[in-house]
Symmetry: C5
Subunit: 322 residues, 5 copies
């Protein structure tokens, strides 16, 4: 589905809607470039676009099926840049991973989106900067990558919050066993890392000026994106390490808490065993047990039992077992 189609000339968007054919024609002209935004196209839809803009056969397959690794690939004059978008969904603590395929040519840029990663904000932002728009498609590519990487940072922030939350749960005194949540976070961070890690090489290549669509004066912008990307990467690597340690610490904490429970129960059983034993002795039926006939035998034994239990209780309390 084509969600947006515009021609930019001299840093300005040409008024009015364009048909696909008009867009293709504009892309064959000069001094202007077309930005075509497509959302989860069907094979037929995209083949029409591909034939209009002369895209490579393999690219069509990629654009329709998605599930590509982040990469940059040159097919003839057209650069195919694949990036993953990440969007943190607070309500269910999940990182939503989408995919963007960008076909970049000096006279057009086609953005194919699968899943999360709406680009309306990028379009609005660059249309406010005619000075940058004049630099052509490279600037649009930069703006999209910058937006995507900002999305990573937000997602990383969300994941960090989750991790700190689960850490508190691990070490809380009344804590349960957040093993499942830890594991789910580990899976999520792994997916996130898989989405982010290969992009670093892609942006690095773009920033080195190997490609025509990135003019020299834009290289510093791509290096800036690259720096942000490496910061996010380092952070995600840190997440993995922390989660590994948290899983270990959780095992310790859970086993400590459960052992404490056992110890408490056992201590009470031990305390109860003392009066049972003493009572058992005075329940024996020997003919000659003088204590049984004492005037204060019974209260004395009760007192002894009470004292013994109290002494044990104190001792266990002092040892931190109760």
């Amino acid at each position: 589905m084509i969600v947006n189609c515009a021609v930019y000339e001299q840093g300005q968007r040409r008024q009015g809607d364009l048909s696909l054919g008009e867009a293709g024609q504009a892309a064959r002209g000069e001094d202007a470039f077309v930005w075509l935004g497509v959302l989860e196209p069907s094979a037929e839809e995209f083949e029409a676009i591909a034939s209009e803009f002369d895209l490579h056969e393999l690219a069509v397959e990629d654009a329709v099926n998605a599930h590509q690794r982040p990469k940059v690939e040159l097919y003839g004059d057209t650069l195919l840049v694949v990036v993953k978008t990440a969007h943190y969904v607070d309500s269910n603590e999940v990182c939503d991973i989408g995919e963007l395929l960008l076909f970049v040519h000096p006279t057009f840029i086609i953005t194919v989106r699968h899943g999360a990663g709406e680009l309306g904000a990028v379009r609005a932002r660059i249309e406010r900067r005619p000075d940058l728009l004049r630099l052509g498609v490279g600037m649009v590519l930069y703006a999209i990558l910058d937006y995507v990487v900002d999305g990573y940072e937000e997602a990383a922030q969300g994941v960090d919050g989750d991790i700190q939350d689960v850490e508190r749960q691990v070490f809380a005194d009344d804590g349960g066993n957040p093993a499942q949540r830890l594991y789910a976070l580990e899976r999520e961070v792994l997916d996130f890392h898989t989405a982010v890690a290969p992009l670093s090489g892609v942006v690095d290549e773009l920033s080195r000026g190997h490609f025509e669509v990135v003019p020299d004066q834009l290289q510093e912008y791509f290096r800036d994106v690259h720096d942000h990307l490496r910061r996010v990467e380092t952070r995600i690597s840190g997440f993995r390490e922390l989660l590994g340690s948290a899983l270990h610490a959780n095992l310790t904490q859970v086993s400590v808490r459960q052992n404490e429970d056992m110890r408490k129960i056992s201590a009470w059983v031990a305390i109860l065993a003392v009066p049972t034993m003493i009572a058992g002795i005075y329940g024996m039926n020997f003919d000659d047990m003088p204590e049984l006939h004492w005037r204060f035998g019974y209260p004395l034994v009760l007192a002894i039992i009470a004292v013994a239990c109290l002494a044990l209780y104190r001792r266990f309390k002092r040892a931190g077992w109760l």
Copy 2:
């Protein structure tokens, strides 16, 4: 055993069956190439083929014994490509690893198969595309690698399903101890990784155009296979990490569940110890125990016992121990 033998001319398969000698003759001609499919050949069988197509002595040994690492090797004009095939067998949750040895020469391609990895589907598919067949043996090589890597993706999908299944088992409330299944999966993923990992370098080399049999217009196709391969690789690496964490999480879950059982039993023992203790006291034989002679002494004690047990039960229940 020779399972298939065909000559392709001008993108078309020449009609009729060929003997090995005719195939060898055709391979010495021009404007055509031979595809010879061999299944687990004996030493004698393969030596006949080797002498017909002039293959290297070491290659004969490899082709007969199999158990090679994935590799690409140039013997004279003939390229030897070794790849592993993977086929997921759903019924017993196992990844079946086979081996393909491809002898590729501008005028012939010999495919030696050991174990899983039937190539009939590939042959059918390329025979439907005369335009690609015209590109020669390189196209056949691409089609085979593409098919093999697709097989990896399916196998990875199957393994992923297993892992998600065993994860559910780990965290299920009534869960058993899937340690053995986790370990078996780890072994399987390790074998899978060993089969897949070295191929990446092989396909990369092929896609760089170092070899005559891969013409320039095919390089993009091999790069596409390479991308798919790296995606599978990343996924398998992720499996290893997840299984490692799952093994840890399983230890936590199992020990938690078993400790809960112990705590429950101990709590019941503690509850039972209270009436035993009280009854013991009134079973003592002191001469002077006034409570024994009270009118409602017995029901009172029974009531005390009941209240004490109930209080304990509630407390344990509230603490989540019962």
Copy 3:
């Protein structure tokens, strides 16, 4: 906020305070350089500085927002060096990480500080060495990096102390469960490592004389900083490994200590079960139990109980269970 602004000529600081305009003018002159110290500038403040000293648009954003990775980047003639400062706060066992952005140009150096990392000491030190000051901004850059890396070493020293402290806690006989402290240290060391690790590449690049502001005779100084940095890095890597092992050792120690407690309680329960059993037997109501009528039956049984308990106690004691 501009915290300091000085012009250095011939290794001497020119007397009197300078306005920003005067500083900019001085930086456009020759044979002198300006050092401008800025603390957490607002966007407006820094834009004034940027336009005076002709800094790049992206650099302004970096300087205001901070949170950059350590890096060295050339924007035109101006070198941007980003470093993290580390300051160990003894009272709450935390490593305080700050950020310094250094804009270095042959005729000026602008230091933008966020958080910890006061540079007054550096300024004082270099003003005492006119011979080195004569070497220009490169010397100031060296002095700052040297000071920052010395700060790392102090921080590493502090962290090492913490680790040794927590080690003692892990293995102490009366030890608690320092799992949370271990984990907090791990998080701290990870942050520290993230701050320090990328600087190594930065200083290495500076020491190789790729940049105009570092003259040849200063390269040995930068190599010296690089050596110190690698020493700190190795040490921090060691911390990570030690903390991982300590987490494991802690699990062992905690479970050992808790098992010892359980064993002790269980042993006492077992000792108490012996008299209970014996007393139970002599509490039976059989008509014909000769022992009950013996003259010394009761004291004999008491003696037997005492001996049995003592024997058990001794045995448990010898086995190290009590």
Copy 4:
């Protein structure tokens, strides 16, 4: 001790035994080469050989002391190749590591053996192939390396059998605690890996034709050895990973089995506590306990006890605790 000494001319072994002096003389001639096999030489023995064949001072020390890393080193015209041999001893499940030092010169090859790694089979095999022997010392070097690497594969096979055996032990229902065996295997695999890993670089260097003694037509043979070597290496790395996981799984299994034992004992104790409690109640001495005077009081209580115990037993059985 010199165990064998032969001159090969035109692919044939010259008849008769040679003294060391004659061998040295032959090695100074042309169109022939000497193969001298030495076993654990004393310093004096080897110095005689060294002076006859003009070997380097440092090489003498190496040859006598052994305990070298696998390496290839050029001393003048003589190549020193050090390899480790591995021999799996089935009876005590141990990998026997020996050492071979090969001094290779276009006109002689001296093989110094320490420990396992008898080369008689190699000598016999190459003497049956005059066509290959004509290629000179390089062919002998290849034959030895091929033999050594075949030995690795056999040893790896043996170790794999051990690992599968210990895996079965880990997961067996009546399993013991094979922690010590697992650890011993880990040590063995580590030693094996240390012996094998550096050889890969050595053979790679030899296969690249950097050395005069390996003529071009032999390079494919050395690449073949290299492939085999990498396969063994991958396999050994897999062993290390599997053993690490098995150690973890073993901890889980052992603790599961022991917890099951504890649970079983505790469940029985809980069952026994019920009749004890009920009996205690009817052992109380209250004046007025109507049940005591009932006609069927006693059998009724016995019946209640039996029913309670049976109910508990069933419940525990159903929960899998007994």
Copy 5:
């Protein structure tokens, strides 16, 4: 403190003691070189030496403070080589790490020692070899490095002994909990590795003939040292892995042993609960309990108790729980 000062001419030590000034003068001559041995110099002492031999400012600081990473650095004509010495102290199982700073110039070598690493033996050894001494300072440098690396091997031997000792402790039947010793060994091995690892690069650089003081005919000697060094490194890396596994195995063994203790106690408690229960039943006060009036009721019950306990005991014994 200057501990030794000698001039070597023509492979011979010049007779008599030298003052620092005379040494400096000799070092400015030809055909001779000075070896100056210094032990933990004060800043003043070393500044005198530095000015006499024209050493770099930064080097003075290094030499006085020590705590450098192993490195090789060229300051003008003078090479600064920093190495760590290791000396295993058997009595307290500790690896004593010292530091050597070597200033090497074609006409002098200054050795600054901090901590362990006495060089008297090296001096004695090289003075016995005039043929090597004639090769100049490079030979001295080699002799020192060779001696240092031999020290590593001895220390590694000592550590290996400790590890095998602690392994025995881990798996001993009467074993305690060597967790603390394991951890201490891990810390020691880490320090050892930190000392050894960077030296490999240093020696490699020296062996490649980048420096004037190492003439071509000495390169083989330095390569020999490099090989030894890599062997030690591999061994130390192996130590780290083994200790990690031993820590895991220890957790298993300790928990197994403690669980065995618990099981034993619990089994005894279960055995004792049987007579207690039976006795409780016959302690009930029902009017009509026929067994109580049987002629052999009491001995019969005693017999039943004895049989039940024995049966339980046997069962537990057979299950390996007692």
